[in-house]
Point group: C2
Chain length 568, copies 2
């Protein structure tokens, strides 16, 4: 074993189970306190587990006695017990942190006092219906009514849409310690897994999360249509928030990206989190590896938290039948890039987290395409109307071939034939720099950010602004094909492309030579895609053989016969 | 669970353990027949395991009774017992296949009879010392003496280097059933994991394997300095070999790549194999996922066997001390892309497989660099002299900037500054198309195949052949910077680059504009590397702000003052 210390965990659900997967690989013993045959215990066979509830003081004490570090997979624990055992065993993260975080109202106040932006909140404990009405006048409607404690996966939350809702809200949550939150009019939800070690704070990449019925449904890594500037800002905010707390381990930080691009912290979890499941496949170190290493003071090299490939995680929730989760998993077996994780929970109950799956792919768009049929199964189970995805199996385009006018299309035919032959998915669009400048701008800005494009080929003649303007609006490589127009033999177009000012290059090929533009696009894709490169190599080898064959023929026949066979 | 059928496994070592890791995620129950606390049983807690030896007939019968499909993690089993139980339970792969493969001489004969190339072999059973001498006269020395059965990880093999070795060879292996193999004068060893399903035969990528003391030490995926044509041929050969056998599951196929580039099968293993461990991290589906699915007739989408990233696997073998494997694992914790697998075998014994680790990275060269310090630890433990790797932490170059003469270097300075500023690792080389044509050819052919280069920038003036010739020998994208020479204002160089024949494009930028060549290289890398793209975006944003600032100044000061501030 890498470490002879034993880790004790309060709770043996799926988070504990995946923590044990990581610990098993390092031969680190994890003692689980939970009922027998709980998900975590199923994959860990030793006699150090404790049977019982993680809310039972005697059991917690027993766990502490048999472990060197105690951690949690759920924050709804008796913090007082952890405070007590912390004199005899390390508790990570600190019981003080758990105490603050498990009370969501206290959590928000704590973050605010440390200069971290959160949604505005009002304490409602003991305020009854009158309190709820007052909040309505102050925040307006809708607002969010939340239980301070024991609220997760939508339980303990109520959206108060109007004064008419207050009675129902009071009925649903009135017996719990309540507070209200101003409605965050967000554009989307983001999340960052943060690792707090003895030396500092590290972050995994920012992801987009999609919730449905207040339960996490999907995470996208990286987020869709979010600038790198925002994802970096989200990581900084998450770091700042977690830096304010004591103790070691991973923390899930959920936040809102508002319509004006500001970020607000929504909630913090002091443990591995659903929004970090994707790290198992998508990153060299997973959130579970990181948690284990952080609480044991083992090294965590920061670049191990990078994204290997874009990834989408889909939760497998229990549906109306006891085997609904199995149906999703079975369908996922047909998905080449889907890694399936079932948690060993037996029969499904509606809304219960039964498992998850992660699809990784070279581009997020490819992952989206692959996961869609699985999302459709999930939605069908929920009784949602599903528009079947178009049956077309055409892959997402990697190359866009743009022309200013359809009159340039004949020049491009040879290049488009090459792309087809070498199996490079492409799209052709008409985007004139002078007749549709706004459309060209929109298309160029979206290229590679809102879609999976990687290379653009622009053909133009005369003043030939198309590829140069496109290059000014995109960060993708732009290839220019100078088209021979009426005058100047195409030299005008050639100069318009090669002589771009310093800053925005156009990769220019020969006049009318769309073949070379296409081959250059193939080379660019092949720089990282070895399959594409191999297809190109085979193609080039074919050309080489063809020329060698002609040479042999010329040698054997002599130039006169050869010329005759050419009809000259 | 995805499947309610139970899988029985003969043997609970590391292969069984990693098979269970895969099964756990699908909640498929695997019953292990081996001693208690064996590596596989440690991560599987249920009451279906059988305690005992996989060589014990009664225990095998008990396993068969409690399972729906029986498989093996080792081929040295009593095939007769499997034949017996195969009437009541599915055995995969077929006992007939195991029977042929476990006898290496029979294995070779079977392959030969199915038209698969193997090393020439001679039966030596009962032939004694005289037989060994006869082989020497027929094959010459050295030749390989092997036990037909129970030979693995170097045990049961003897290299007979000369007639003088025969006595020692007879002493070492004389009591075993022997055969001799003609020495294969190989350039390197390759291996392919093959999946045999009810529908056909699929393969994982080809890897290079490095053996030391006849035990696998390293695997490289993809192999180093091997053309895609050869790796494809290796996959075809492996498919053909495994297609000849009955039954389902994964098979490890080890082969020799001879100096004339022909391939010979060395050995086949009818089970998951050491040379396929890398698939756990490097491929969407691992060899263990594939084995489980194959024997249960579950879907295996072929593209799930692709390489996500290049990967290197290093075995962690027992050394001279009982904790030698722990020392390697601890060192590996500092390696950001290393996934560590310890097998739970307790104290190390010299040469015993205690674990392995896999480093994945965007390029094989980056993985090689990262894993070298870990190989050094392994070598040190073996008492081998280790040349410490250069402490330089300079990353491997992604861009090569080639010039025909040092006189072109001043033109390139601006571009090299850009690459430095945008943190793109590059190298600069002098490779003249006319003065050193062979060196240019060698450098161009190695680019991107023997190293991690992804883009080449070539600068030249006048007839300017450099980038065009480079493009003819490489499949990487080549960017051309036309340099203004003494006459013709650089137009000569420009035309020499843009007007390349159809087939070998040069991405040409403006005359003397090395800035744009560098930025184009950055765009090409950024097409797949989002971090690079983000650095470029920020840089372009800076330029935009700078121009806007100047516009504001011009507006505020008027053109006369502005011109004065420019000193005009």
């Amino acid at each position: 074993m890498v470490d002879t210390r034993k880790v004790g965990v309060l709770g043996g659900g799926q988070l504990g189970r995946m923590l044990i997967e990581a610990a098993n690989r390092l031969n680190i013993q994890v003692n689980v306190l939970d009922v027998d045959k709980s998900p975590a215990k199923q994959i860990s066979s030793h006699d150090g587990h404790i049977s019982g509830s993680f809310k039972d003081a005697a059991a917690v004490k027993k766990l502490a006695e048999s472990s060197d570090v105690v951690t949690v997979e759920i924050e709804h624990v008796d913090v007082g017990m952890l405070e007590e055992v912390s004199s005899q065993v390390a508790v990570e993260p600190s019981w003080k942190t758990l105490k603050i975080i498990k009370d969501k109202y206290a959590q928000k106040g704590y973050l605010e006092s440390h200069g971290v932006q959160v949604a505005e909140s009002i304490d409602l404990e003991g305020k009854g219906v009158e309190g709820l009405k007052e909040v309505g006048s102050k925040f307006g409607y809708p607002y969010m009514l939340k239980s301070k404690t024991e609220a997760y996966d939508g339980r303990g939350n109520f959206v108060v849409k109007s004064e008419g809702d207050i009675e129902a809200a009071q009925k649903a949550l009135g017996d719990r310690p309540l507070y209200a939150e101003r409605w965050a009019d967000f554009r989307m939800e983001l999340a960052v897994m943060v690792v707090k070690t003895k030396d500092g704070v590290l972050t995994f990449p920012t992801v987009e999360t999609i919730h449905e019925d207040s339960i996490c449904k999907l995470t996208y890594a990286p987020p869709r249509n979010v600038s790198p500037e925002i994802t970096a800002r989200a990581q900084e905010l998450a770091k700042k928030a977690i830096g304010a707390f004591e103790g070691k381990g991973v923390f899930g930080v959920e936040m809102f990206l508002l319509k004006d691009d500001t970020l607000l912290i929504n909630e913090i979890a002091p443990r591995p989190h659903n929004s970090g499941h994707y790290t198992i496949e998508a990153c060299p170190l997973s959130q579970y590896d990181a948690h284990l290493r952080a609480i044991l003071d083992l090294p965590i090299p920061e670049s191990g938290l990078r994204l290997r490939e874009p990834a989408i995680m889909l939760n497998i929730l229990g549906g109306q039948t006891t085997d609904s989760h199995v149906q999703i998993a079975k369908k996922a077996l047909e998905s080449p890039n889907a890694s399936i994780h079932l948690y060993g929970k037996g029969d499904a109950r509606p809304g219960r987290k039964m498992g998850h799956l992660t699809v990784t792919a070279p581009t997020l768009a490819a992952a989206e395409k692959e996961i869609q049929p699985l999302i459709d199964v999930v939605d069908q189970q929920k009784g949602k109307a599903v528009t079947p995805s178009p049956a077309s199996s055409s892959p997402e385009p990697l190359v866009a071939v743009i022309i200013g006018s359809d009159s340039d299309l004949p020049v491009l035919k040879a290049g488009l034939d090459i792309l087809t032959k070498l199996q490079v998915p492409f799209t052709t669009r008409i985007t004139s720099a002078h007749r549709t400048p706004d459309w060209l701008r929109e298309y160029s800005k979206a290229a590679g950010t809102a879609n999976g494009l990687r290379v653009i080929i622009g053909a133009a003649g005369g003043a030939a602004h198309l590829p140069g303007m496109c290059a000014s609006w995109t960060t993708l490589p732009v290839i220019g094909v100078p088209v021979k127009a009426t005058h100047l033999d195409g030299v005008d177009s050639l100069y318009s492309m090669t002589q771009m000012p310093r800053g925005e290059p156009v990769a220019t090929v020969g006049i009318n030579n769309s073949t070379n533009a296409a081959l250059l696009a193939v080379r660019i894709l092949g720089a990282t895609d070895l399959e594409v490169r191999e297809r190109l190599r085979v193609w080039m080898e074919g050309n080489e053989k063809e020329v060698l064959r002609k040479d042999q023929k010329l040698l054997e026949e002599g130039y006169q016969t050869y010329l005759k066979s050419m009809g000259k």
